[in-house]
């Protein structure tokens, strides 16, 4: 048996839902880690991964809604979900304050995600016992 040490994880998702498997694989990993007694310290969306935080994702009713699934997981566990603000603004993922700042016609950041800088990722690297990356693949 491996040791019973509990670990804290930062998960970095860089692949978009419906274009890659990354958000689903990350969610399965996160559920398994929590079930095994480990902690997810934070989830950081970067690059195309920020598309996961769009509340406007609207898949057909017989397909999973990864944005909703992730939102529920984060809210249940009280886990911070952060979308990189630079990646998000480039790709049209906007919260209310950025909508006002750039005078855009709408905002679409799903609850409970927040926009913040790469400093949140750096903090994850320094504080978590492990950092896992979920990429979209080439």
């Amino acid at each position: 048996m491996p040791s019973e040490q509990t670990l804290s994880y930062t998960l970095v998702i860089t692949g978009a839902p419906y274009a890659s498997q990354a958000p689903q694989t990350a969610l399965e990993f996160a559920r398994a880690a929590v079930a095994a007694g480990h902690g997810i310290e934070r989830v950081f969306l970067y690059g195309d991964g920020v598309y996961l935080a769009s509340t406007l994702n609207c898949p057909p009713s017989d397909e999973p809604n990864w944005t909703r699934a992730w939102s529920e997981f984060l809210e249940t566990g009280g886990i911070p979900g952060i979308a990189c603000i630079a990646s998000a603004l480039r790709r049209g993922i906007v919260d209310e304050s950025e909508q006002q700042r750039y005078q855009l016609s709408a905002c679409n950041l799903a609850t409970p995600f927040a926009l913040a800088g790469l400093g949140e990722w750096v903090e994850g690297l320094t504080r978590s016992s492990r950092v896992m990356y979920f990429h979209g693949g080439a």
């Binding site: 990646s87 320094t126 950092v131």
Partner: protein, 115 residues
């Protein structure tokens, strides 16, 4: 904590290289030791004399020239990849260390990040 950021895709074809570079700059800005390794098609980032005007993009050469200013500890290039893409020191940005991208190199870092 020491971090190695790896760029293994050619510049300009997608945005992931620029976003990878931003990760390196963020680490440096927060005073975390970080080095950059270019390997595979990524060594093309290091070509001197790039012109991004027709692409309406800042050249990655210009982005990279800021690396020492930000506090990135080392710019490294994989020797075999340089050979594959016919890059020699005369045709490259200054200040690049040529290395073998092998297990011993990666083992020197606590985190290795490649998008």
């Amino acid at each position: 904590m020491s971090v190695l950021i790896v760029i293994d895709q050619a510049p300009y074809g997608n945005w992931s290289g620029r976003e990878t570079l931003d990760m390196a700059f963020a680490l440096a800005a927060f005073d975390q030791p970080v080095s950059l390794l270019f390997r595979g098609a990524g060594v093309n980032w290091l070509r001197a004399g790039q012109d991004g005007a027709t692409l309406q993009q800042k050249t990655v050469e210009r982005n990279l020239s800021a690396a020492p200013v930000f506090g990135v500890e080392a710019l490294m290039a994989d020797a075999a990849s340089l050979g594959r893409y016919r890059l020699d020191p005369d045709g490259m940005l200054a200040g690049v260390t040529v290395v073998d991208a092998a297990a011993e190199l990666y083992r020197q870092f606590q985190h290795v990040v490649s998008l």
